[in-house]
Symmetry: C2
Subunit: 208 residues, 2 copies
DNA sequence: ATATACATACCGACCAGTTGGTATGTTGTC
DNA sequence: GACAACATACCAACTGGTCGGTATGTATAT
């Protein structure tokens, strides 16, 4: 029996618990006690690993970056030869992720940054890094697609990458408001349509 | 001296205070005491007008709907003869609203629904109504634009209207994460570009 | 005109429960 | 035996909410 396994992993259990609890109730409404209960850990363990609730918030945002980073890095859409196909594939992948209850497919950092952007700068910055890094990962494919089609656009690859994240974050808000994933899928479809119009046949001629 | 003025307006003062305080700190992190202090009102007055904090949340969402409803109803973009111009005008208007600090231009109900969608059904529904009604107000113009151009689209006016709200809500999240309005404006620009591609010259031929 | 009756608007002390955080153990490991 | 990884007990501050009370307005009957 790996006795070591029960020891030393309180931090991980807290971090994992934070992902689901905070996505369900929000950061402020989530108490330390609740987090400990969900993780099956005592309060002493909590403050042994995190010197404050805010530090847990920062760590949770970073944890989220790691997990989602790994998920998207190994996703199959990277295999497409055409960069545009990879971008569309990414968005189809995000649509396919809209499974289960709303708390299960929504974004931790999008939720957290709303509550803490003015009151907890460290959390805001960790959330910003998570979103911005994820967006930055899309830039090379967007740039390649622009080059392929010789697009002389009045927008940058970076701004389009951020726009995809805006649509996704907004789609999550609508899903929360309406209590279902359907709206979110519709919004992603509109984004896909936008990309196809931007990069599709005759696109270079339409833009100048 | 209007002695009456000092009476009876505690409710309004609380509602107005709620708009700014909740947009800054979020719903959960805003305490009743804080709300009272910001409104210059006592706790007794609070619970005289609202039987619970949650009821204040619902009332604040409705108050927000009223205020924003009036703002957009009297906005100048309705004067355009062309329905597409009205839609683009609406989005330009929203871009022009990105002034001042982040808490001043972001959306109350978008913020609130993130925190309460699972825990406070009444607030969720009030926020949903605010967003959905606002989106619904855009539908007639979208439908008219589709009719004008004889678009046989595989998307509905309703879904496009909701998509505009998703982009706006997402733009606010990015603005909060990055600490400035610039990203939000860029995202609205992408949305405007999408609409121009959807409805612009040759659009009917491109879609089938 | 005025007394009675009642409703509305508001005040502020108070309460029980919860909050984030701390101080002091205990236990296993190198 | 030193140190990390926890557990337990506890605390002051704050939380949403209650409650008895007061000031003011209004309808009605006399």
């Amino acid at each position: 029996m790996p006795k070591v396994a029960t020891r030393q992993d309180a931090r991980q259990k807290l971090l994992d618990a934070a992902l689901s609890v905070i996505r369900t109730k929000g950061y402020s409404a989530t108490s330390v006690d609740e987090l400990c209960a969900a993780a099956g850990v005592t309060k002493g363990a909590f403050f042994h690993h995190f010197k404050s609730k805010e530090e847990l918030g920062v760590a949770a945002a970073n944890h989220w970056s790691q997990i989602t980073g790994a998920l998207f890095a190994q996703a199959p859409y990277h295999e497409h030869a055409d960069p545009l196909a990879r971008i569309i594939g990414y968005l189809e992948f995000r649509k396919a992720l809209l499974q289960g209850g709303v708390p299960e497919f929504t974004c931790l950092v999008g939720t957290m940054v709303q509550e803490s952007y003015e009151t907890a700068p460290a959390i805001r910055e960790a959330c910003n890094a998570s979103i911005s890094d994820h967006a930055a990962a899309l830039e090379p494919d967007i740039e390649a697609a622009m080059r392929d089609r010789a697009l002389a656009a009045d927008w940058s690859a970076a701004s389009l990458a951020l726009h995809t994240q805006a649509v996704l974050q907004g789609a999550f808000i609508l899903a929360k408001a309406k209590g279902g994933a359907a709206v979110a899928a519709d919004s992603i479809d509109h984004l896909i349509r936008y990309l196809k119009l931007l990069f599709g046949p005759g696109a270079a001629e339409r833009q100048s």
